[in-house]
């Protein structure tokens, strides 16, 4: 039996009169890949923002490895091992690709401000370790040759991959990918699928939660799928069940005349 990593029970978020997420419940086990799909405005990104605590919950409960994290702050949740990417690649433009990845390890860096300013030994040791881990992660995603470049100068597909590297480097328990394939061309999409498989092979414990529109990606890699529409879960199941669900077809294609 694999262990349940992340679990939400009836989480809800209203924006004024609009119910963005209505009583969403799900759980994800170690090593599982779960996809959340649904048309625009279905509240998918809001779910991510609730889990990563960028938004406060209006109701419901979130637990990580059995511990209640409903009241934790955004920073605490991130430090506990819930990592995410953003819909529009929010890379730190002032930092190089390598630094973008290193910065995700920096909150736990083992040297103080004084040690940093006086270049004391612990600073060197920690920096070497940080750089090594970041480079390993860049190599995994085949990004090592871009290490010294600024993300703004790179093609969009590469930027999205840098973002995945940044979220992955701290060895999180849960990796949440918000539309990783958005804006990618077919070739880049295939590469992305390969990389996701490689990540899965390298981190067998990692639970992945993916929001995606591209059905080919969702159907090929996810173990379980939730379909959202207007904040509600209208269907859930494995890929072949979802593909033939009449409610899903209706939400995506509109009603039959």
């Amino acid at each position: 039996m694999s262990r349940c990593i992340l679990k939400t029970e009836g989480i809800r978020k209203n924006f004024g009169g609009v119910v963005a997420v209505k009583d969403f419940s799900f759980e994800i086990d170690e090593g599982q890949i779960i996809a959340i799909i649904g048309p625009n405005g279905a509240g998918k990104t809001t779910i991510f923002n609730l889990v990563s605590k960028i938004y406060e919950l209006d109701a419901g409960k979130i637990s990580l490895c059995g511990a209640d994290i409903t009241k934790k702050s955004q920073i605490e949740v991130a430090r506990m091992g819930i990592s995410r990417t953003f819909q529009n690649a929010r890379l730190f433009t002032g930092l190089s690709v390598l630094d973008n990845v290193r910065v995700a390890l920096d909150f736990a860096g083992k040297y103080s401000l004084i040690e940093a300013m006086l270049l004391l030994p612990r600073r060197w040791k920690t920096e070497r370790e940080t750089t090594r881990r970041a480079m390993d992660c860049l190599e995994l995603l085949n990004l090592d040759r871009y290490a010294g470049q600024r993300p703004a100068n790179l093609p969009y597909g590469i930027q999205r991959r840098v973002e995945i590297a940044r979220a992955l480097v701290s060895n999180p328990k849960v990796l949440m990918l918000d539309e990783p394939a958005a804006g990618l061309n077919p070739e880049e999409l295939f590469q992305l699928m390969d990389f996701l498989r490689e990540i899965r092979a390298k981190y067998p414990q990692l639970a992945m939660l993916i929001i995606e529109h591209r059905m080919d990606l969702v159907m090929s890699i996810s173990d379980y799928i939730y379909v959202q529409d207007f904040g509600e879960t209208i269907a859930q199941g494995v890929a072949c069940e979802i593909q033939n669900d009449p409610l899903v077809l209706k939400a995506y294609l509109g009603e039959e005349e």
Binding site: A78, F92, L95, V103, D106, A108, Y111, A116, T126
Partner: protein, 300 residues
């Protein structure tokens, strides 16, 4: 070197120290403050007044002054850094004015607007100040290249994304603000030692604004750029002394010239002269190595 030249070098050094503090705060962590001169004031007054009235060595009172500046910075930053950036900048102006008023209120000891001039003379002051400048620059450079520098640039670009990588934005800002203020305090001590007189006017908001201007002129994200501009623009007016147009010395037009420069920079080079580039010796070293390799080949 003549005393005048030495005095110019010290002037440039003091400017460099204060601007490198502002660099840590504004360029790295994105906090825009117009009150950094207040920390120069706090530290200078504490150091020299304590030295005078308690008859203690300046070395000792300087430590007290530095610690006190750090403490004041900590107390101010706890509430102030919860504010949005623009309100923080506004508040810093108020803080600067407050410190000036306190200095005047304590006129019995500080001599109010007339200025406090019982500052001991230090031998070889140029060397001392040059040493301090080198040390401060070394520390700020290391800060930029450490995990703190990276986290600062991350939080400056995107606070929400920074938080989602576990960066405690609020605490980091406080740390940087305290360090930046203590660097300003160091500049305050040097200022006092060089000028041998300190007055509240010397540390008013225009000095804080000047630091920001020098920083932006040199390059918003370039330590070397802002250091060069801090030194060059600070001593430039001294050379304009003799130059006059229509009977008006250019030195009196300092503010006008600064403002004109800023307008030009803002319009044509939004990130300052150097932008994000740092001058380094690496290309020179590379060139030397290449030349060495070529020579080795030829000799074969």
């Amino acid at each position: 070197m003549s005393n005048y030249q030495l005095s110019l070098i010290m002037l440039a050094c003091i400017s460099v120290i204060s601007v490198s503090g502002v660099f840590a705060m504004t360029s790295l962590a994105g906090m825009f403050s117009l009150g950094q001169a207040a920390y120069m004031s706090i530290c200078a007054y504490l150091t020299f007044c304590l030295a005078k009235y308690l008859d203690l060595p300046v070395m000792l009172t300087a430590v007290v002054g530095l610690a006190a500046s750090g403490l004041v910075a900590l107390i101010i930053s706890l509430p102030a850094l919860k504010l949005r950036r623009d309100y923080f900048a506004l508040l810093s102006v108020g803080f600067g004015e407050m410190i000036s008023s306190i200095v005047i209120l304590l006129g019995k000891w500080t001599n109010a607007s007339i200025g406090f001039s019982r500052i001991p003379k230090v031998d070889n002051l140029v060397l001392v100040i040059l040493g301090i400048t080198a040390l401060v620059l070394f520390m700020v450079r290391n800060l930029k290249r450490s995990r703190f520098g990276r986290m600062c640039i991350a939080l400056k670009t995107d606070e929400i994304a920074a938080k989602s990588f576990g960066i405690d934005v609020y605490r980091l800002k406080i740390k940087i603000y305290v360090i930046a203020s203590m660097i300003a305090a160091v500049a305050g001590i040097c200022y006092g030692l060089r000028n041998r007189v300190i007055s509240p006017d010397a540390f008013d908001w225009s000095l804080s604004a000047e630091m920001q201007i020098l920083l932006f002129f040199g390059g918003t994200n370039s330590l070397t750029g802002s250091v060069i501009s801090a030194a060059a623009l600070k001593i430039l007016p001294e050379f304009l002394k003799g130059v006059s147009f229509f009977g008006v010395s250019l030195q009196d037009c300092k503010t006008i010239i600064y403002c004109a420069l800023i307008i030009v920079i803002i319009n044509f080079r939004t990130k300052g002269i150097m932008g994000e580039h740092e001058l380094s010796l690496a290309p020179l070293v590379k060139l030397a190595r290449k030349a060495g390799a070529r020579r080795a080949k030829e000799s074969k």
